[in-house]
Amino acid sequence: MRIDISKFGNSLVSRSSGREAALALQANVLRDITSSEFIELDFSGVLVLTPSWADEFLAFLRQRYGQQIRILPSQNSTVQLTLETIGEIAVSPSKS
């Protein structure tokens, strides 16, 4: 399942909104996901991302979905630098 992260906004900055986004994603989209399905996070429509937002968002999802979470590569400089800063690595999309 691919998630368009820009649907949470194109400037993703605060810790509180990162956590709220993760909670909303879990409740509204991931409720029925199976444990064999990848959750691909697509940041390509995001203009501004910060470690505060990404830390809260990804820590929450990693805790619940572990290696099901995959972050797709992005050309955006703030997405790349944020992922590097928080120790996350983008991977190519799965073929389906």
Binding site: G9, S11, V13, S14, R15, S16, S17, L47, V48, L49, T50, P51, S52, D55, A59, N76, S77, T78, L81, T82, E84, T85, I86
Partner: protein
């Protein structure tokens, strides 16, 4: 009144309405205009986004490390002016400052200088037991990528002041004693950003 005067004066007073972000909602509403405004001014999208993300990280700290424990006036001061490809930006708060914030995680910290250096170089968060503390390390990385300008971050009597792009080997020596004591934090950024082709 300037952002520095507001952050350092002993008398509590609300900032001018144009610059005052009393709540995180007001802050976010104003902050999210920075990158689009820079892009409309013709600035390279990647650089505009990097600049805005740095402001976002610093401004968000004003809330996440202080609420609801500000000294007196809640929220932060956010002011910016764009002229051509030059931007000047000020962010400040009357919060507990970096030393008091980080002491929760690192009780051995004694001075504002030690705390400021730790915040810029170590993965440490004042919101222990949370495993965070990436924000100002991220800011340092952005500073190495901005082509021309000056950056200042002050807390208490310690001030980190550097030319852009930042040479990280000079980071520690760029922290000096400030003449004015800031209650909380104060940041000033002046940058000349490249136009998109």
């Amino acid at each position: 009144m300037t952002a520095l005067e507001w952050a350092s004066q002993s008398r509590p007073e609300e900032p001018p309405a144009d610059f005052y972000c009393r709540s995180v909602d007001v802050w976010q509403g104003r902050f999210t205009k920075i990158a689009p405004t820079l892009i409309r001014a013709g600035i390279h999208t990647d650089i505009a986004a990097l600049f805005a993300s740095m402001v976002g990280e610093i401004g968000d700290n004003c809330f996440t490390h202080n609420a609801p424990g500000w000294i007196d006036i809640p929220g932060c001061w956010l002011e910016y002016h764009i002229e051509g490809n030059q931007i000047q930006c000020w962010i400040s708060d009357r919060g507990r400052g970096i030393l008091n914030s980080l002491k929760a995680a690192l009780p051995s910290l004694e001075t504002h200088r030690e705390a400021l250096l730790a915040s810029l170089t170590k993965r440490i968060s004042g919101r222990t037991p949370e495993k965070r503390g990436n924000g100002l390390k991220y800011v340092v990385e952005v500073l190495t990528r901005l082509p021309v300008g000056v950056f200042t971050l002050q807390t208490g009597d310690a001030s980190f002041h550097c030319n852009l792009p930042l040479n990280k080997t000079l980071l520690e020596s760029s922290i000096t004693a400030a003449s004015t004591m800031v209650r909380g934090t104060y940041c000033e950024i002046t940058a000349t950003l490249p136009y998109a082709n």
